[in-house]
């Protein structure tokens, strides 16, 4: 994708590795979720039977009873007493039912699944932690490296497909708050880092890249701004190292901090959308937390990456035009050209999906296929790439005063945005 056709072959091994790892992690995810459901059903069976003190119902009767309850709920739904159509109830297999009846205990694999879900060890965590572990212990052979890098943007088709879940009214409702958060925190951080850098007499190239990266969209923004502010390679790697280090720490800690603070899924989505600096990492953290968190985080992220051209324009003004004016020279900026060059195109796909959904093109099945199932496939391959690319050696490249400024600004943004999103509350950020 990023090289000539003759170079495509070099991406294949790494890409295949990411697909295999993604499949394994999704298989794991499917299993633990099924076991968790089995666990919950087993608990109900045990409670019902132990309470009665009678012998366990035969399996056929258990199934018939469950079916009867479902029919009752369906009838209530048709009468309009229940808003949502009841789903088919989950039942356990006969073999497992017999085991529970004999031992009066929940089988080990069901308890294991429940525990794994409790610890949030879903496919997201397995891929990120597993990938990082592989990269930093046995290492990733060179033959896999280009493909593993290429796998990371495969998250983006998932982001586009998720657009099928929204209506324009959802986007506008959450979008207003997203815009406010982006304006206050993201652009605020960019300006703060730029001003602090000047005060602390840091190099313009370094601080320009850091301001863009710490404020908005991590590496993409740093790449977009680097040529504008005449960043040196060392500056660029310092800034990217700092951004990646903060993102990695945030990715693995924020879901647990969110749970500890009792954040609802939409509030957590709003928080990571604002506070984590890298698209892949924030999407991973939100997915880790839950689907509603992802729906909210995705809107904030779309608004945020849409602001990359604005940040570039600010950096041109702050580091080039303002400086030239102070030296008595005249410099002009072609705003439209900057917007055209730096606008992230994939956002258009997201908005196209929202429009198709608004026009009623998608059925519930389509939304499941695109926004849950294929989203998971794309995310799994992308997260495998993200995990395999977290190299401690890259993180060590962060350094100096710029690291301190970048890290303080990012931490400050994370703390303040957590307070603000919690104060605004779930209703404002809830997509549906």
């Amino acid at each position: 994708m990023t090289d000539t056709n003759s170079g495509i072959v070099k991406y294949i091994p790494g890409l295949i590795l990411c697909i295999i790892l993604g499949w394994l992690a999704l298989q794991w995810d499917q299993s633990i979720h099924k076991w968790q459901k089995d666990f919950q059903e087993s608990e109900k069976i045990l409670k019902a039977n132990i309470k009665d003190g009678k012998p366990f119902l035969p399996f056929a009767e258990y199934l018939a009873k469950s079916d009867e309850k479902h029919k009752e709920k369906l009838a209530a739904f048709e009468r309009g007493e229940i808003k949502e159509k009841p789903k088919k109830p989950h039942t356990i297999k006969e073999k497992d039912y017999e085991t529970i009846a004999t031992t009066k205990e929940i089988p080990f694999n069901f308890r294991f699944g429940e525990r794994m879900i409790q610890f949030q060890l879903t496919y997201v965590a397995v891929l990120l932690l597993g990938g990082m572990l592989i990269r930093n212990t046995i290492g990733l052979p060179k033959v896999f490296q280009p493909g593993a890098v290429l796998a990371r943007p495969i998250i983006k088709p998932g982001i586009i497909l998720l657009g099928g879940y929204y209506l324009w009214s959802n986007l506008l409702k959450v979008g207003v708050f997203a815009l406010l958060l982006v304006l206050v925190f993201i652009l605020g951080t960019t300006v703060l880092v730029a001003v602090l850098g000047r005060r602390m007499k840091q190099d313009d190239g370094l601080m320009g890249v850091m301001a863009a990266g710490a404020g908005i969209c991590g590496v993409s923004a740093a790449v977009a701004v680097a040529p504008v502010v005449n960043a040196k390679p060392r500056d660029f790697f310092y800034a990217v190292g700092t951004i990646l280090l903060f993102g990695t720490v945030a990715l693995f800690t924020f879901p647990y901090i969110g749970k500890a603070l009792g954040m609802s899924e939409p509030v957590f989505g709003a928080w990571v959308g604002t506070a984590i600096l890298n698209t892949a990492q924030l999407v991973a953290a939100a997915t880790w937390y839950g689907h509603d968190a992802l729906l909210t985080a995705n809107i904030i992220n779309i608004v945020r990456v849409g602001f990359i051209p604005i940040v570039v324009i600010f950096c041109i003004w702050f580091y080039v035009i303002k400086k030239a004016t102070a030296e008595g020279k005249e410099q002009k900026i072609n705003t439209w050209q900057v917007i055209k060059d730096k606008f992230p195109l994939f956002i258009i796909g997201f908005f196209a999906m929202v429009t198709l959904n608004e026009l009623g093109v998608f059925t519930e099945d389509h939304r499941t296929i695109f926004g849950k199932q294929f989203l998971q496939i794309f995310f799994a391959v992308g997260f495998a790439g993200v995990g395999l690319n977290i190299a401690f050696d890259d993180l060590k490249k962060a350094g100096g005063k710029a690291f301190v400024i970048g890290f303080i600004a990012a931490t400050l943004k994370a703390v303040l945005s957590a307070i603000v999103v919690m104060m605004i509350g779930t209703d404002a950020f809830k997509v549906k």
Binding site: L26, P157, L161, F370
Partner: protein, 51 residues
């Protein structure tokens, strides 16, 4: 100076690669949507991929 120029070119190249990457991403998403709308992929397709 030469090093900076070389890096500038590299940064520009990376951004143009990101643009190409976005186009591929749009194509991949469009193919998935077309397959979904034409019924080639159904909700059962995903579950059939796993044990």
């Amino acid at each position: 100076m030469a090093e900076t120029k070389e890096f500038e070119d590299k940064a520009k190249k990376v951004f143009s690669a990101e643009r190409k990457e976005d186009i591929w991403v749009l194509i991949l998403a469009a193919i998935t949507v077309i397959l979904g709308l034409t019924g080639v992929i159904t909700p059962k397709t995903f579950t059939s991929l796993f044990f």
